[in-house]
Symmetry: C2
Subunit: 342 residues, 2 copies
DNA sequence: ATTAGCACTCACATTGACAGAGTGCTAATA
DNA sequence: TATTAGCACTCTGTCAATGTGAGTGCTAAT
């Protein structure tokens, strides 16, 4: 469809525009790149490219600007030769992570930070906690005469707890007996499975106290909810202001408003649960408010399970090559980190 | 020091400027407020006020703008008649909280949101988790042949856990014995007290396994660290852009940069651990980067313990009256909410 | 003590001229 | 037939000149 020369010129325009944020003119191209072509020829080609929908003109007698369609082509053709990070950048990432990972949360926080730092754009990281951990056993730890702590241990070694009411005067022995029985009956179930009905069934097989049942239900519900919680980490909102397209305060306000709504951010990130890297350009985005932005998004998994999603959000004029390279590297890096049990 | 008329005029200027963000001129004052004074007289008074340091002139032949000193006076004189929220606003706050409080975190999140909504400024909320809870008992829950879960229960009913290594083949009975002994020896201690030395001492009284001791140390350290963690909640960064003083992108960038550095925000909020409400105006702020802003800050407590700090940060031209009213109300409201155990 | 009047200052908006960068078209050229 | 030189034209951004409006300070009159 596009001959080599057109393709070459288009690429030059895109990369030039990405770099300078200024409409690119024929003369500039001829001067900067040694194509052996006069500005006039280039003009003709550009005219064609505009007709084909790859270029746009902000106004007569301005240079030209790549269209969403052009970026699409650019990004797609990049898939074959993805571009690599410099040794320097990789070292930076490695050392950054080495220094500050203490908890799971730190991993996500660092990811957000690095993404925004290296790409000069906003980063969004969604930590998925939709756990598929299976129930292993539960235990009651006495607290006072009428209260105890419910501990739930899952097969991935995590545990959680909640406060429950117990019949006054229940002995430690009784509690152990109860928990042992229940553990046997519930072992291997998904945590989310242990809802009202199943719990009721199991419980009534071993005890009759209604108060305790009710508080057990409540506590387990809370734990299950917490375990399927999704957490959002943002980074680099301020980088936005370095981008010329966000010199307009209205636009910044718009985007900041979106980023502040945690629910919206979650929706955006959850939408892209595809495999691998996904680039959405301009109006390809389905969410109002970011239709004039581009987003590069990747989902990372552990043993097939989705652990989280990371994304870079910025103007359509984005350094796709660099962004994709960073994401690819981070992606691989994180999967190895997550492999080691923390 | 200031006679009544000067005081009155100064107040008018301050409130007018807070409302319009435009330098206030003598003629405007005469027109808007029925003082029975001609512009010329007002001009003379304004001239005096400028000499006294209460007013500033952006340039000759512009109106005048209140100085930090003027705001100081304004805020101080407000202490006597603090200003109250409208019934409407109070209802708004009440219903907001009623709807979304499920966990402790929700309280802080909501606080941040409301503060920024109602004041049109950035809000910062610091949740203090510097717990003074005392150790109650610990328990080991077997996980595998070489690992167990350490549960630590404190006297406030909270509990925490961590993974530890155990000597291969340790029986449940042995674990119970060990935990019982240690619990007895440690009961009543502050969590942070149980550092290396004390733990070592207690542990060596009951067992000799070095591997287990090491991993115990690590796990308890982690738990103690987590319990003294402080969490920051922000709200309304986008409101900033509605303020005329933040039409300048550079200034926004500056402030956003600060807000993104969690550590800096913590420092700022921790600095004001005074009692009650604290207003810092302009250069009264000790932190570079917000020296051209004002901050209203309140610390809330529960049984004398500091639970958190909330603050509103904005331009020196801030609706102090409203902000203070909101903070006062929230402050009281939160203390009653926090009273009820969650 | 207050005020009317006046000269003066400064920011800001408007206008017009002009340079710079770019385009499209046509005719000449390889 | 593809390329290019040349030219007229268009649009933006900048700069200087100018006028307007809001405000001040001072002086003299009330």
């Amino acid at each position: 469809m596009l001959n080599d020369r057109k393709r070459k010129i288009l690429q030059i325009i895109i990369e030039d525009y990405i770099e300078t944020a200024e409409p690119v003119g024929s003369r500039t191209i001829a001067r900067k790149h040694n194509l052996g072509l006069s500005p006039a020829t280039i003009r003709n080609e550009m005219s064609d490219l505009e007709l084909l929908g790859y270029l746009e003109q902000p106004h007569t007698s301005a240079g030209r600007v790549p269209s969403a369609q052009a970026y699409r082509l650019y990004v797609d053709s990049m898939k074959e030769e993805p571009g690599v990070l410099t040794e320097n950048d990789r070292a930076l990432i490695n050392s950054w992570f080495k220094e500050r990972i203490r908890s799971m949360d730190d991993i996500f926080k660092s990811t957000a930070k690095i993404l925004s730092r290296m790409t000069q754009n906003v980063s969004l990281v969604l930590a998925n906690k939709k756990s598929t951990a299976r129930f292993k056993y539960l235990k009651f730890l006495p607290l006072s005469d009428t209260q105890a702590i419910l501990c739930i241990v899952t097969d991935d070694g995590a545990m959680d707890n909640g406060l429950i009411d117990i019949p006054a005067g229940m002995s430690a022995g009784e509690m152990d007996y109860l928990s042992g029985k229940m553990s046997n009956l519930l072992e291997g179930r998904q945590l989310t499975e242990i809802t009202g009905d199943l719990l009721q069934e199991v419980y009534s097989a071993v005890s009759e106290d209604e108060v305790m049942l009710a508080s057990l239900k409540k506590a387990i519900g809370k734990i299950a909810a917490k375990n399927s919680e999704q957490k959002v980490f943002l980074g680099g909102a301020k980088q936005l202001l370095n981008q010329p397209e966000f010199q307009d305060v209205g636009r910044v306000k718009n985007l900041l408003g979106i980023l502040e709504e945690e629910k919206v951010v979650k929706d955006i990130l959850n939408a892209g649960d595809d495999s691998g890297l996904k680039v959405t350009i301009g109006s390809e985005n389905k969410f109002t408010g970011i239709k004039d932005c581009s987003m590069v998004q990747a989902t990372y998994r552990l043993n097939g399970q989705i652990v989280g999603t990371m994304a870079v959000l910025g103007p359509t004029r984005m350094e796709y090559r660099k962004v994709i390279a960073v994401m690819n590297y981070l992606h691989k890096y994180l999967e190895t980190i997550l492999q080691e049990p923390k």
